[in-house]
Subunit: 250 residues, 2 copies
């Protein structure tokens, strides 16, 4: 989490709202805050405390379990995986974070990162010092509200994953979740790459990697998807949604 840093020293030179919007879109986090009603000056204040860090190469760690917490980060590009290692050496994947999503929120309580975060491909981040962000949030109610929403959303998401769903339901919900999240960031919702290994998917969904393979194979045989290695195409979103329906959201 300490890397080449490119703070927005020139933030005050923006000319008009068009500039501002383009400026914001480099970091999804502030875009979301814009939706919460922050005005131009407030967004500039927010951007003054962003550090762009990265790129991280696949396999690089963004932070490690136990390190002191000082910042949350929004993914700007790439995929981040968070995980813990059980005492028996078993890896336990907590989440995958795509562009626009925020990592580190679970570290606020405890003031240490409770898990490891690793880049799955080439990753760039927007880093926000949390003390400074919290301080700013006392002056910008929209920012505070955005933080509350983000955290509230993560609570709901984690609770949903905890259900006792079947392997089919889990995999279908996982694929649809990726699809939805990618399309929200402008990528195709039908075709995309799995940036993570089958083993990672299994460790995330609490399934053996063999089971993930088998389910994907069966989905393909049944015409729900087309898989080739890490490339996926959803060929029957409706059927997937029927399977995943009970796990709303994700």
């Amino acid at each position: 989490m300490s890397r080449p840093v490119f703070p927005y020293a020139d933030a005050s030179t923006l000319a008009d709202d068009g500039d501002l919007l383009r400026f914001c879109s480099t970091c999804a986090f502030s875009l979301a805050c814009r939706a919460e009603g922050l005005d131009k000056q407030e967004l500039l204040d927010l951007h003054m405390l962003v550090e762009h860090v990265g790129p991280f190469a696949a396999g690089d760690h963004v932070f490690r379990e136990g390190e002191p917490f000082d910042a949350i980060a929004a993914v700007r590009a790439g995929t981040v995986k968070t995980y813990v290692v059980e005492r028996d050496g078993q890896e336990h994947v907590l989440g995958f974070y795509l562009p626009g999503e925020v990592i580190g929120l679970d570290a606020i309580d405890g003031m240490r990162y409770p898990c490891n975060a690793v880049a799955l491909d080439t990753v760039s981040l927007c880093r926000f010092s949390f003390p400074r962000l919290a301080e700013l949030a006392t002056r910008l109610p929209g920012l505070q509200q955005h933080l509350f929403r983000l955290m509230s959303r993560d609570i709901g998401k984690a609770m949903r994953l905890a259900g006792d769903w079947s392997a089919d339901q889990r995999v279908a919900a996982f694929l649809l979740g990726l699809s939805r999240r990618l399309s929200a960031r402008g990528y195709s919702s039908r075709r995309f790459q799995l940036t993570m290994a089958r083993t990672d998917i299994g460790n995330y969904l609490r399934l053996a990697p063999e089971t993930v393979s088998r389910v994907l194979k069966r989905f393909q045989d049944d015409g729900l998807i087309a898989v080739d290695r890490r490339d996926v195409e959803l060929t029957s979103v409706a059927a997937l949604e029927a399977l995943a329906a009970p796990i709303r959201g994700n």
Copy 2:
């Protein structure tokens, strides 16, 4: 959530810190804020927006899924269960909330309660209007920080429950979690009552109620606990902790 209301109209009459502490202890929420560094005046501000609601009788609903969200609540006495009902009628327990714990945080994102909350015994609550609480939090950094921590903690808790633990591990962690949370509020950590039915425990831990029964029986045969109907005594905390170790926290 609309019930007899007893706002703290007389908050400003407190004489000294002893009074204040006793005053705070009626609501664990503000006690925790006190630890975050709120001073006397700030605590009084906080108390001005508390509403004591209840009592609710066993089976009464505190709120229902889909209702508009306007307030979070700290449990003052009793146990609250939150749950959702799947489309197939299956009940899915999301959590049990003991005195001092806060319900409704998962409703901030979405502005509607995403689940039902029901009293398992006689329940009293401290209700905090969320818009007013958020507004106050912009003026009291310690309060904001406390809210961030609470939500961060819930994220971690939900993620831990999502692991693929064995029935023994789940039940052991559940018992220890209750023990720890109860003792934090001054109750015995060795002997306590299960305020929820076996079915509820199963729906929370993703186990069939029969499995809960069997595991409790085996724990008793192995000398880890003594169970009689809803009364439990932990007779070998060490052994339980060895089982539950991987599920740290709870």
